[in-house]
Symmetry: C2
Subunit: 410 residues, 2 copies
C-alpha cells in the first residue's frame, strides 16, 4: 500500500528515550508475515497509568480487562502488550482466556504483577486470537527490552496504517525538564467515542493516577474525541498515558505554571497524534478542519461539526476539489442542532461563500475552488445564534477508501 | 450514466390513467439541456392532498410553501409543479420570490387557486432558481395537459437517477375499484427524516384530508423513513398524496375491510417506490435489507438497523462481497442502543455467522460468501434482549458513488 500523500513530510519524528520505559518488538505471525506485530513496553516501578477507552457496547476483551485494572494496583513495575492483526473482539469466553494467557505470560516473563499488565489487540474482529503464537515468544520479547525501541513499537502496532505515528514535546516544570512522547495507530473505523484506536504516551513526569487520569480525560475530549475518518467506532479504542516519574518533576505539587506546562505538552502530543491518524485516514487525499462558531451551545456546535465532517456528500465533494457549499448547508440542516437557515454563513478557507442564508454577494467561485485544490482544507460555519464553537478534523472520502475496505479481509 | 444494475427488470411499470389527474412536461432548460425538466400535474376540483416533508433545519423555500398550504383551502382544482436541475434551496428571499412567481404563473395559466398550487425543486443547492425559464413556458405546459402523461412526469423529475420510478396497486373498496399510482425520484442525499425525495402518489379514491394525512404519515414511517443511501438528508424531501375522488369509492365511510384495502394499497405503492429509490442509490450494486429483532424497544431496533445500514465499513464490505460480520458487531456497538455483546447473533442471508457473542460453531464462511455474491443481501441481527424489531433498506457503497459525487456539480 502506498504511503498516504498526507504523511508528515519529515517522516517519523526523533523520539527521545523516556527514563523508566523499555520496549521490545517481535514478528509473532499473528496474521501478518514478514513484519513485526507484537510490542511490549515495560514500565518502571511506581509508574502511574491513566487511560480512556471506546464506549462501544461491543468492546473487546482486552479493553474490558484494561478498564478493570485502571486505577487499581499502583505498586511495582507495569507492562503494556499490544498485537496487531487480530482484535480479539467478539470472541466470547475465548477472548477472555486469551487475555488471561497473555497477561499471565508477561507477568511471569518479566516479573510484573498481573494486575499491572495492560493489553490491546487490533485487527480483524470476530476471529479467535491465536494467543499461543504470542505467549511462545514472550520470554524472547522480555530479553530484548531496550530503552530506545519506541520507533519499532510504533511500527509493530500498525494495521492498515500507511505510516507509523509518533509525537514528542519537552516542557519545563518548575525548572525540571520533562519529556512526553507518544505513538499511535489507526486509519479506519475512526469516530472515537471516548478515546480512539491505540495510543500510548510515555512521560518521565511524576504524576499521581488521579491527576493523570483527569488530564488524560480532559485532553482526550479536545483531541481524539474530535476526529473522524468514517464515522465508524472501533471496538478496541485504547489510549494509555504512563508517567514513570523518573525526572522527579512532580506535577501534583508543581506550581500552576508547571501544571499548565505539563497539560499543554500532553495536549500537543495528543493533538499531533490525532491529526496524524486523520492524515492516515483510509484513502485520504485531503486533511479537513471543520470549525463551527456562534452555536447556541457547545453540544450543537459539535453536532454540526460532526454532521459536516461525517457527511459522505461533503467528503466526496472535498475529494473532487469542489467548493460545493450546498452540501454543507444540507449537513447543518440534518445535524439535529438548532439552526436558522437565514443566519447561516459559510467559508471555504478565507473565502466567504454564503452569508445569512444565501450566496455571498462578492462570491467568486474560482477563489473557493483554488482553496479546495490544496492539501489542507478548512470549512468554517457561523450559525449566528450564540457564542459556542467546536472544531473537528477529518479527511476526504475517495475511491481508495472503497478499494481498501471492499477487500481488507480477503 | 449507465442504468443501475438494480433497476427493475421489467422497466417502468404500466401506470393507469387516474381520473381527475392530467400531466404535462417540458424541457425548460433550468440546468439540463436536451431533456424534460419540468412537470405539471393538474388535479380535479375537490382533490384532497396530504403530504410529508423533510425535517431538515435548512429546508428549501418550496417545502416551506407546501407545508403552509397543506390542510388549507380544499375547494377548487389544484396543481403540482416540479422542476429538476436546481433545488431553490438556501436562496434566501430570492427563493421565496421564485416560489411566488411559479405558483402565481400556474394559478393564472390553468385557473387554479394559488393556495392550491404546490411546487418542488430538486437539484443543486444554493444557486438562485432561474424561474423565468419556467414561467415563460407555463402556458404551453397548461395547453399540453393530458391524462396519460405520468410516465413522462416520472422522467422529468429525475436528477442523478438512472431510471424513472413508478408503482401502482389496484384495490377494491366495498365493491368499487380504486387505483393508486405513484412516481418518485431520488438516488443520493437519501436518509429521509419524515419523507424522502420527491414522491407523488395519485388515487381516484375519495378521502378526506384528515384521514389521508393520517394514512400518509403512518405509511411513510414504515417505508420512506426506513431507507438510507448515504445517511445524508435532503433539504427538499417532499411526498404528496392526491386523492381525486373520481371513483366515488369513499374511504372515510368505507367498511373496516375497505379502509384496510386502501391503506394496504397505499403502503405497497410507497414501499415499492422507496425500494426503487434505494435500488437507484448512487453507485449501488447491491440491495441490502437489514432486519433487527429482539431489541429492548423499537427505538433501539431502529438505531441498530440504521447504524448497520449507514456504516461505511459495512457498506464497503457488501460492495466487496465480503461476509465481514465483525463490522456488523462494530455497528451494533456504536449505535447507542442497549446491547449485550454476549447475546448478539448475526445472519447473512440464511447463514448464522455469530451466536451469543462469538462465531457460530457450524459457521462455514463459503456459505455466507455465496450469499454476498447475490444482488439482494440480507443482514439479520438478533439482540436477544426483548421483543421489538425494525427493518431498513439500503445499498452498498462503491467506487461509483465516489465518482458520481466527486464531480456531480462540475
Amino acid at each position: 500500500m502506498p504511503v498516504s500523500p498526507l504523511a508528515p513530510k519529515g517522516g517519523f519524528p526523533d523520539l527521545p528515550v523516556i527514563e523508566g520505559v523499555r520496549f521490545a518488538t517481535v514478528a509473532a505471525g499473528v496474521k501478518y508475515s514478514g513484519r513485526t506485530d507484537v510490542m511490549l513496553a515495560e514500565l518502571a516501578p511506581g509508574t502511574a497509568i491513566a487511560g480512556t477507552f471506546t464506549r462501544s457496547k461491543t468492546r473487546a476483551a482486552p479493553v474490558l480487562d484494561c478498564q478493570a485494572k485502571l486505577g487499581g494496583a499502583s505498586d511495582g513495575p507495569a507492562a503494556i502488550l499490544v498485537n496487531s492483526g487480530n482484535a480479539n473482539a467478539f470472541t466470547g469466553i475465548k477472548g477472555v482466556e486469551a487475555v488471561e494467557a497473555l497477561t499471565g505470560a508477561v507477568a511471569s516473563a518479566i516479573n510484573v504483577p498481573k494486575a499491572r499488565v495492560f493489553t490491546a489487540s487490533t485487527g480483524v474482529i470476530g476471529e479467535p486470537l491465536p494467543h499461543d503464537r504470542i505467549t511462545s515468544v514472550i520470554s524472547d520479547l522480555g530479553g530484548a527490552l531496550k530503552p530506545d525501541g519506541i520507533a519499532d513499537a510504533a511500527k509493530a502496532i500498525m494495521t492498515t496504517d500507511t505510516f507509523p505515528k509518533g509525537s514528542v514535546r519537552t516542557v519545563e516544570i518548575d525548572g525540571k525538564t520533562v519529556s512526553i512522547a507518544g505513538i499511535a495507530k489507526g486509519s479506519g473505523m475512526i469516530a472515537p467515542d471516548m478515546a480512539t484506536m491505540l495510543v500510548y504516551i510515555f512521560t518521565d513526569a511524576k504524576v499521581s493516577f488521579d491527576l493523570l487520569q483527569r488530564y488524560t480525560t480532559d485532553m482526550c475530549d479536545s483531541t481524539f474525541n474530535r476526529i473522524t475518518v468514517d464515522s465508524d467506532t472501533s471496538t478496541s479504542d485504547t489510549l494509555l498515558v504512563a508517567a514513570t516519574g523518573a525526572s522527579r518533576a512532580d506535577v501534583d505539587t508543581a506550581s500552576v505554571k508547571g501544571k499548565a506546562a505539563f497539560v499543554g505538552g500532553l495536549h500537543q502530543v495528543m493533538l499531533d497524534l490525532a491529526h496524524q491518524v486523520v492524515r492516515d485516514g483510509e484513502g485520504a487525499s485531503k486533511f479537513v478542519t471543520v470549525e463551527v462558531k456562534s452555536a447556541a451551545n457547545v453540544e450543537d456546535a459539535q453536532k454540526v461539526a460532526f454532521a459536516i465532517a461525517n457527511s459522505p456528500l461533503v467528503k466526496t465533494a472535498v475529494a473532487g476539489e469542489d467548493p460545493n457549499w450546498g452540501r454543507v448547508v444540507m449537513a447543518v440542516g440534518k445535524s439535529g442542532a438548532e439552526a436558522d437557515r437565514d443566519r447561516l454563513s459559510i467559508w471555504f478557507g478565507d473565502t466567504e461563500v454564503a452569508r445569512n442564508g444565501q450566496v455571498s454577494p462578492d462570491y467568486v467561485e474560482a477563489e473557493a475552488a483554488a482553496h479546495m485544490r490544496g492539501e489542507d482544507i478548512t470549512i468554517r460555519v457561523d450559525l449566528g445564534l450564540g457564542d459556542m464553537g467546536a472544531t473537528v478534523w477529518t479527511c476526504d472520502l475517495t475511491n481508495q477508501y472503497i478499494a481498501i475496505n471492499a477487500d481488507y479481509r480477503s
